[in-house]
């Protein structure tokens, strides 16, 4: 076991990673609750946004803020477009089918990204945020502003989304739809509009997560697209329901993942962390299953 000093820097990076997982997880849970869709293309839209931001900034010489805005806008627009096109068509299908359909979108986006931003050339792209340079030291640990932003974004969005769902009219409508779409529609809630809002919100979160992960992890279509699997782990432990549990699970996963890095015998297995935690969590949580016929089955 290495000395504690070796672990210290990884607490910071782990918390930052956990923050982004939490941000992604909250976006996924809100969309799932409102529309019944587990959005597996979450990583792909973020990656697309980040790559477009990269092109705008490094190739077209656009100012940084324009690139980041474009990233978030593209992710939001693609997600909203998918939701408007395929949401109604699949609204009455099983959650499993809805999730598999988003795999279709993932593959399309992945193909497009690989075509336009070829990785075979070997040149590594990177998207650095100006917040990387600034920072401060806590107990001799270097902390960058990006890491602070990542964790803060996770916290703020979890709290903010919780408040939004509880306090606003739109949030109440989303919670109502999570319970029963048909009854909500009967009560006069504009179901399609509420769903569209959820899609747009989820897409915007995807864009923000893509931007942060491109900086914290790597700007690479494959990595970013399939990093969503790691955020899914937190969502699964929360059983696609609670944003608080999602947040806690995401932080734990991020922390554990990075804290395993200095341990020589485990370091090459650290990428398994989310999967193992999700598997154990799910299996423990599913001990007492009840067979239901409802569409809301879990």
């Amino acid at each position: 076991m290495p000395p504690w000093v070796d672990f210290e820097p990884f607490i910071v990076s782990g918390l930052a990673l956990g923050g982004v997982y939490a941000l992604s997880g909250v976006g996924l849970v809100v969309l799932y609750r409102a529309t019944g869709v587990l959005y597996l293309a979450f990583g792909a839209v973020g990656a697309l946004g980040a790559l477009i931001a990269w092109s705008l900034i490094t190739r077209a010489g656009a100012p940084g803020w324009a690139g980041w805005l474009a990233c978030v806008a593209v992710a939001g627009a693609v997600t909203l477009a998918y939701g408007l096109l395929f949401g109604p068509a699949l609204a009455r299908r099983d959650p499993l089918i809805k999730a598999v359909a988003t795999i279709g979108l993932t593959l399309i986006l992945y193909g497009v990204m690989d075509l336009l931003w070829t990785t075979s050339g070997g040149q590594a792209r990177s998207l650095t945020l100006p917040t990387d340079n600034g920072g401060f030291t806590v107990a001799q640990i270097q902390v960058t502003w990006t890491q602070v932003i990542a964790l803060a974004a996770g916290v703020v969005l979890t709290v903010g989304t919780g408040a939004f769902l509880r306090l606003t009219k739109l949030g109440t409508a989303m919670r109502a739809m999570a319970n029963d779409r048909d009854i909500t529609a009967t009560l006069g809630v504009p179901v399609r509009k509420v769903e569209a809002a959820a899609w747009l919100g989820c897409g915007i979160l995807g864009g923000i997560a893509g931007l942060l992960l491109a900086d914290l992890v790597a700007l690479d279509a494959t990595t970013l697209t399939f990093l969503v699997i790691s955020s899914l782990a937190a969502v699964l432990i929360a059983r696609l329901r609670s944003i608080t549990v999602t947040f806690v699970a995401a932080i734990v996963i991020g922390l554990l993942h990075d804290l395993l890095t200095p341990i020589a015998s485990l370091t090459s297995y650290r990428d398994m962390t989310p999967f193992v935690i999700a598997a154990i969590g799910l299996l423990v949580l599913s001990r007492h299953q009840v067979m239901t016929q409802s569409r809301e089955e879990a």
């Binding site: 699949l90 089918i97 279709g104 593959l107 399309i108 193909g111 690989d114 598997a279």
Partner: protein
């Protein structure tokens, strides 16, 4: 839904096969004989190798189609199961001098055991959760494989030696050392696996699976042991995927963990859905989509990314409009076209100009 219209094939009274059935069997036999005898002679070595891959992957998509179409279990970890089979076969082939068919059988059984170990706890989950847990497990297996690597003739349990300069190729059966011979060998294995699955579908397990897919509560009420039959399907799918892994090991001679990324599992589900999960032909179509089309595009110098995009569009199309996939849609459209042309031709001589 068309899916629910699938025959549950009740225990039928022995009767003579109908004409469409005979035609189907006839076409299948002719196609198989053609592929076995003529195909390796007609194709260049590049395409013979491709067709070997098609044979291997048709077994994989067959297993996945069985789970998805017959039982309603969506697995997002099939490429990882294939990797386990390939690993086991490669280890056995390096360690022993057993005959190849025996190694294939053992690789299948080892993979089946691994599948059962995964399936036992995972099958408590259903639907979306089961699909996601298979994705998680596939992710874990990929990470483990990236660390332990595939056997390359080294010693020890893992059989990997990173310092080896001359890596020996994974051996092939002596009767199928050349590429065309190995294609025929893979085809025979594939046909056997298809026969194994067909035998299951036509008998008691197949009926139980059909009942489970339509409604678990109803199947339970009918006295079907849901858990047992689901586990059986899982075991069978793992077994044949493991055998496919064994064939794959001999086909490509050298195995690397980067050949089995997690996203392959996702692409495999996509092509399986596109090919069609309610018919055994769907597995062949899916394998052609997955292995033949990329080889063709590669030969033409077109990027394989177009294919990924096509698969994405295909998944969306299958889920929204054509649940039975290409294996169902193409013959139906061809028949419709045939009828249309037939009507046209019959009308022509009458001088009917529109």
């Amino acid at each position: 839904m068309r899916a629910t219209l699938e025959r549950a094939s009740p225990a039928r009274i022995a009767r003579r096969p109908t004409r469409p059935q005979l035609i189907k069997v006839g076409i299948t036999t002719v196609l198989l004989l053609f592929a076995f005898f003529a195909l390796p002679e007609l194709l260049s070595l590049y395409y013979v190798d491709t067709m070997t891959q098609v044979a291997v992957y048709s077994i994989v998509t067959l297993a996945l189609g069985l789970l998805v179409g017959r039982v309603g279990l969506y697995s997002l970890g099939q490429a990882a199961v294939l990797a386990i089979g390939a690993w086991a076969a490669a280890r056995l082939l390096f360690a022993t001098t057993q005959p190849y068919p025996l190694v294939l059988l053992e690789a299948g059984l080892i993979t089946m055991l691994a599948g059962l170990l995964i399936g036992l706890p995972a099958l408590r989950l259903r639907g979306l959760y089961l699909a996601l847990i298979t994705l998680m497990l596939a992710g874990s297996i990929t990470v483990v494989l990236a660390t332990v690597n595939f056997p390359n003739g080294g010693h020890g349990f893992l059989g990997y030696n990173g310092g080896l300069l001359h890596i020996p190729p994974i051996r092939r059966p002596s009767i199928a050392a050349s590429d065309p011979a190995y294609f025929r060998y893979s085809m025979v294995v594939a046909v056997l696996m298809f026969a194994l699955v067909l035998a299951h579908i036509k008998t008691r397990p197949g009926r139980a699976w059909a009942a489970i897919r339509q409604s678990e509560p109803a199947a339970l009420a009918a006295g079907i042991n849901i858990w047992f039959y689901k586990l059986w399907a899982f075991a069978l799918a793992s077994f044949i995927t493991g055998v496919a892994g064994g064939v794959l090991a001999g086909a490509i001679h050298y195995l690397y963990s980067i050949n089995f990324p997690t996203q392959d599992s996702i692409t495999l589900l996509a092509v399986t859905l596109m090919g069609g999960v309610f018919s055994l032909w769907g597995a062949v179509v899916a394998a052609l989509l997955y292995q033949f089309l990329p080889a063709l595009l590669n030969n033409w110098g077109v990027s394989a990314d177009w294919l990924i995009i096509l698969f994405g569009v295909g998944v969306l199309q299958v889920l929204t409009t054509a649940p039975a996939g290409l294996a169902d849609q193409v013959p139906r459209d061809l028949a419709r076209l045939g009828r249309f042309l037939g009507r046209r031709l019959r009308r022509r001589p009458g001088g009917d100009a529109e």
